[in-house]
Symmetry: C2
DNA sequence: AAGTGTGAACTTTTTCACAGCT
DNA sequence: AGCTGTGAAAAAGTTCACACTT
């Protein structure tokens, strides 16, 4: 099987969200046409995307919302639970912890790290803030799957600490994009300023 | 000229960030090879991307960091200032306002909106929280360029309110993706759970 | 009859490779 | 000599259109 294109991955994640919503609305069955419209793509695209996951529908009928949701979730690794740590004690990291949405989605925040002495030892919503130099200790004590960079100042510090301690998956919420040298490490750069810049480009070119 | 591909836009935004960093480090000149490496792409890609912006380098020499940065900034609409409003008074919106990073980047938060009575009239860092039904009034009083959806619950409410009042550019920070019916409206969906799911897919498939 | 799954056609994007400027 | 800018080639991704199943 060919490798999954990144855009297909992005769309599969969207289909999953839309299916969860349909399930909440007690919809049992959906056609590629309908699911595609709700997901902002065309139905050929959707069917081609789903073909990477498997043969999931019934010809002449459509897709079972429950079954397709489950298969996508499985395919995306979202039936498992993942342990997450956070780099940087900032309002954003407080938000991530207190909001509790990540836990609900199966991403468990196990610890936070900072470098400023006054932040070490703080506990937020049951999550302790450790000194970054204790990362090695924490990584030995628990399986850390994902590191989230939640500061906009020392992103490089946390990035190299995460990489050095064998963390393979990093979500970078700073506004500076990071690129791993080791291709075994996966970084997702998710920047609000980046998103706003796409909109500013669009606004600048309106009507041209 | 052909239309700018979305991925090219994404990369141009990254080049701009990297250039800003080089300028901070007082680097005057950079080759496509070096800038590409710092941006996680190859140099042919970078040169092709820049060709959408114009002829910006000097053959045999490279690019002036200052000049290229300025040209990219201009091209992306980032030499202008944009007025932003926020939908939903949540810890995330508090973070966006108090962090002050957006203002520094030229995105000015003019107002926030909520629907819960107890939140109306609150002032955070100089930003007032209005009832959503006053959006019409605010949109008449000031030019609103961008609406940010900063709640994970009533995203649809704010979305339709924004659209209805003529806001053309929307940054959706909720975990549910939104797609405008009117193609004159541009939505950027930026979801932390989406980013984490990409990482969970990667982790699930490690070693395969 | 309805709607999926998929080769084939088409379109877009990326990479190559080198002419041409400094 | 060195490095950009860009047509041309190659690769990747999207859409079409229809055979096939229920």
């Amino acid at each position: 099987m060919k490798e999954l294109p990144e855009n297909t991955l992005n769309r599969l994640i969207i289909y999953l969200k839309v299916l969860e919503n349909l399930e909440k609305k007690r919809v049992d069955s959906v056609s590629s046409e309908d699911l595609a419209r709700l997901s902002g793509v065309n139905s050929a695209q959707l069917r081609k995307d789903l073909s990477f996951v498997g043969t999931l529908g019934t010809k002449g009928v459509g897709y079972s919302v429950k079954a397709l949701k489950y298969n996508l979730k499985k395919f995306l690794g979202r039936t498992e639970e993942w342990n997450v740590i956070i780099g940087g004690l900032t309002p954003l990291s407080r938000y991530l912890i207190e909001h509790a949405q990540l836990q609900k989605e199966g991403f468990f925040i196990m610890a936070a790290f900072d470098t400023k002495p006054e932040n070490i030892g703080v506990v937020i919503g049951g999550v302790s803030v450790y000194n970054l130099d204790q990362l090695s200790y924490v990584c030995k004590a628990i399986k850390v799957d994902i590191g989230i960079i939640a500061t906009d100042e020392d992103q490089e510090t946390y990035f190299s600490a995460f990489v050095q301690h064998g963390i393979k998956a990093i979500l970078n919420l700073s506004n500076y994009p990071l690129f791993p040298e080791d291709e075994k490490i996966k970084v997702e750069n998710l920047s609000i300023v980046h998103g706003l810049t796409k909109l500013s480009y669009y606004l600048k070119n309106l009507g041209s």
